[in-house]
């Protein structure tokens, strides 16, 4: 039986170095749903993503984040990951000297290894890894490279998707995974997300452009400006924005009677 999961963000306020960035954001993402979160640069999208994952530099000033009713904000980042949250980074950190394969094995064991401490059998992990590499059109030699070191922009994003595919999160947040990618690479990213779609997987796809939402059809689209969600709708909202731009929406919002 498919279990359903809910990420509830309630009136969230987040600041960075004392500066308020997210200013009262409320949003619920359920498994089975894909939400697009669009917004101009500086609207607070990435801050939201980091705060949800627990980056120490991002301070939650007020509000709540609940995952299946549990207080996410009280959890360390690793605990959030083990509960089933995932963040695909826009700029993932380079960790020289640590191979992709070793890191992925440790991550998969941490999330799916259970309490036995035995972890996922090596052969099973290898099989899974090769399968996902293939899906993402990545060479198997990729696994022996050092984590993000010397990766091209596209390789970094594929690597993020590889991790998502292996960790099988319940709710994934993709922070501008489409930025800097050509259309072929965007299609690969979309394939990774679409392959996971189902009643047990939900996603919050953060993007500046509507482009990626053509390949990952969202169930809902939200627009974020100045730290808040200013409008929500279906996928047609993304198309409208693509056509008319954020300035149009800003003007609309400035005329409450319209």
């Amino acid at each position: 039986m498919a279990s359903s999961h809910t990420l509830e963000i309630r009136d969230l306020h987040v600041s960075v170095d004392g500066k308020p960035i997210v200013k009262g954001l409320t949003l619920t993402v359920r498994s089975g749903e894909v939400h697009g979160l669009m917004g101009p640069n500086g609207s607070g999208k990435t801050t939201l993503a980091f705060a949800l994952m627990g980056h120490p530099r991002y301070t939650v000033d007020s509000g709540q984040v609940l995952f299946d009713g549990e207080d996410v904000l009280a959890m360390e980042p690793d605990e959030r990951a083990r509960k089933g949250l995932f963040l695909a980074f826009q700029y993932p950190a380079e960790v020289p000297g640590v191979t992709v394969a070793n890191f992925l094995r440790l991550a998969v064991n941490a999330v799916h290894g259970g309490d036995s401490g035995k972890g996922v059998p090596v052969a099973e992990f290898q099989k899974m890894l090769l399968e996902k590499l293939q899906m993402l059109e990545m060479d198997r030699s990729f696994a022996s490279r050092y984590l993000n070191e010397g990766f091209s922009g596209g390789e970094k994003k594929r690597h993020e998707m590889l991790q998502m595919a292996l960790l099988r999160p319940k709710i994934a947040i993709l922070d501008e995974t489409d930025s800097g990618l050509d259309i072929d690479a965007i299609k690969v990213v979309a394939r990774a997300v679409n392959s996971m779609r189902g009643p047990e997987f939900g996603a919050l796809v953060i993007t500046h452009y509507q482009r990626i939402l053509r390949y990952i059809e969202p169930d809902y689209v939200h627009v974020m400006m100045d730290g808040r969600i200013v409008r929500s709708g279906g996928k047609e909202l993304a198309e409208l924005l693509e056509e008319k731009g954020y300035e149009w929406l800003r003007e609309q919002l400035a005329q409450p009677s319209a």
């Binding site: 360390e76 020289p96 440790l106 941490a110």
Partner: protein
């Protein structure tokens, strides 16, 4: 009446050492001369590891009677594995002993609490036939007297080098000779271990390695001790001599227990076109001052070094490396990476000295220290002194850094608990320098020792 304050080796102590071993006259004389030097030379001046004359004198006062006492058990052989195990030799050292790879040799010596040293030795008969010798130094004095007489404390590490070098030359009580005759290439790494039992109060280890022309050897040496006892003073000397076209891969792993205070000089003397590749792992001791130096005398000689260190708790590690370019066309590199946790103090110094006349020589240094805790302190001090105009390359870089919070967050966001994420980052930090070590067995040994230290520092995180 003037009070005798000079630091000196009591004649009774020297007499007891030479007499007990029935050493040849030249060796007794060499010890006596070294003792004289010890008395004359000034105290070492280590900026960040101050050692006063009074402190050294105090430590040695406790040691002399110990060196004089006749051991209750005679030095001898301990061939059986059970016997070594009974002597508190750790499991991984026993594995080394059991491995006995064809083409190799193993020598395990145990310095016992009663002052004696027992050993277990094995060598592929083919190596023995070729004239390779891996033996306790006191035994080698008989077995290969001419080699020992020619090289012991004469060129690589003479008593005149420093006060502690003189002390080590005067009273050495354990150690080994590793000798590879000209033209012989030893295919597999040779392993030598000197392990001290708990309760041992003092140890003066000495290692002499001599490679004849075109000889080749990879040597892995471990000095260590088991926990327990009241603490031990170890003053050691390592001498490496490579004759023309010889190549020595020398690895040394320092695994003293935290109760040990250790002072060690390691020095190589390189003749023409010979090569010494160092891999140094400093992991143990409560307080250790270790230095190593390659003296690039011969034209075309070269030496590269990789040092890895890890200090935790209240450990104090003061590590100095030095490359002395004297011959033309000489080349060297110094690479070091260290990790500090707890309240440890880590000092890393590197000196490259290209002397006038060492034309067409080159050298590079790189040192990085990763500090994992608030209370650990690190110093990195690289120096390059160039007295020659015709230099191919010379430079240095050193950093002291902390854990990168972005890396840590990234790893943790994938489910890795904090401790495991830090362990992984440390392994990654050391990986690039480990890759530079040519001998795979050494890379594995150092990785294993780092993993143990991480385990101690962070507990079992299930990697």
């Amino acid at each position: 009446m003037a009070v005798e304050t000079a630091l000196r080796v009591p004649p009774s102590t020297l007499h007891a050492i030479t007499g007990r071993r029935r050493e040849p006259a030249w060796l007794a004389e060499r010890r006596r001369e070294a003792a004289q030097r010890f008395q004359e030379l000034p105290m070492p001046r280590w900026e960040r590891t101050p050692l006063s004359e009074g402190e050294l004198a105090g430590r040695l006062e406790a040691v002399w009677p110990y060196l004089e006492q006749p051991p209750s058990a005679r030095d001898g052989r301990a061939d059986a594995v059970q016997e070594l195990a009974a002597l508190a030799v750790p499991a991984d050292v026993l594995e080394t002993w059991k491995a006995r790879r064809p083409g190799s040799a193993v020598l395990v010596q145990v310095a016992r609490a009663d002052g004696s040293v027992v050993h277990a030795a094995w060598m592929d008969p083919e190596l023995a036939r070729q004239g390779v010798v891996v033996a306790p130094l006191s035994q080698a004095v008989e077995q290969l007297e001419s080699v020992v007489q020619e090289h012991l404390a004469t060129r690589a590490l003479p008593a005149s080098f420093s006060k502690l070098a003189a002390l080590a030359a005067a009273v050495w009580d354990a150690g080994q000779l590793v000798y590879v005759p000209a033209g012989v290439q030893v295919a597999q790494p040779v392993e030598v271990v000197l392990w001290a039992e708990p309760g041992r109060r003092a140890l003066f280890p000495r290692t002499l390695v001599v490679l004849g022309e075109q000889a080749r050897l990879a040597l892995v040496e471990t000095w260590g001790s088991s926990p327990g006892g009241e603490g031990m003073l170890a003053v050691g000397g390592v001498e490496l001599v490579t004759q023309p076209y010889a190549r020595l891969d020398y690895a040394c792993l320092q695994r003293w227990d935290s109760q040990v205070t250790a002072f060690t000089h390691r020095r190589a003397y390189l003749e023409n076109d010979s090569q010494v590749e160092w891999a140094i792992g400093e992991f143990g001791a409560g307080l250790a001052r270790s230095d190593f130096e390659a003296q690039l005398h011969g034209r075309g000689s070269s030496s590269h070094s990789v040092m890895v260190f890890f200090a935790g708790q209240r450990q104090h590690l003061d590590l100095a490396s030095s490359m002395e370019h004297r011959g033309t066309h000489t080349e060297s590199d110094i690479v070091a990476r260290g990790v500090l946790t707890g309240q440890a103090r880590g000092i890393y110094q590197a000196v490259t000295h290209i002397r006038s006349g060492a034309r067409s020589s080159g050298s590079w240094q790189k040192g990085n220290i990763l500090v994992l805790s608030q209370d650990a302190r690190a110093d990195a001090n690289p120096t390059v002194i160039v007295e020659e105009n015709d230099v191919l390359r010379a430079g240095h870089a050193a950093t002291v850094g902390k854990v990168d919070p972005e890396q840590l967050f990234y790893l943790m966001s994938r489910g890795l608990p904090h401790a495991l994420a830090v362990q992984l980052m440390v392994e990654g930090f050391l990986q690039p320098v480990l890759e530079k070590i040519p001998v795979e067995a050494v890379r594995e040994l150092i990785r294993d020792l780092v993993a143990r230290r991480l385990q101690e520092a962070f507990g079992a995180a299930g990697s």
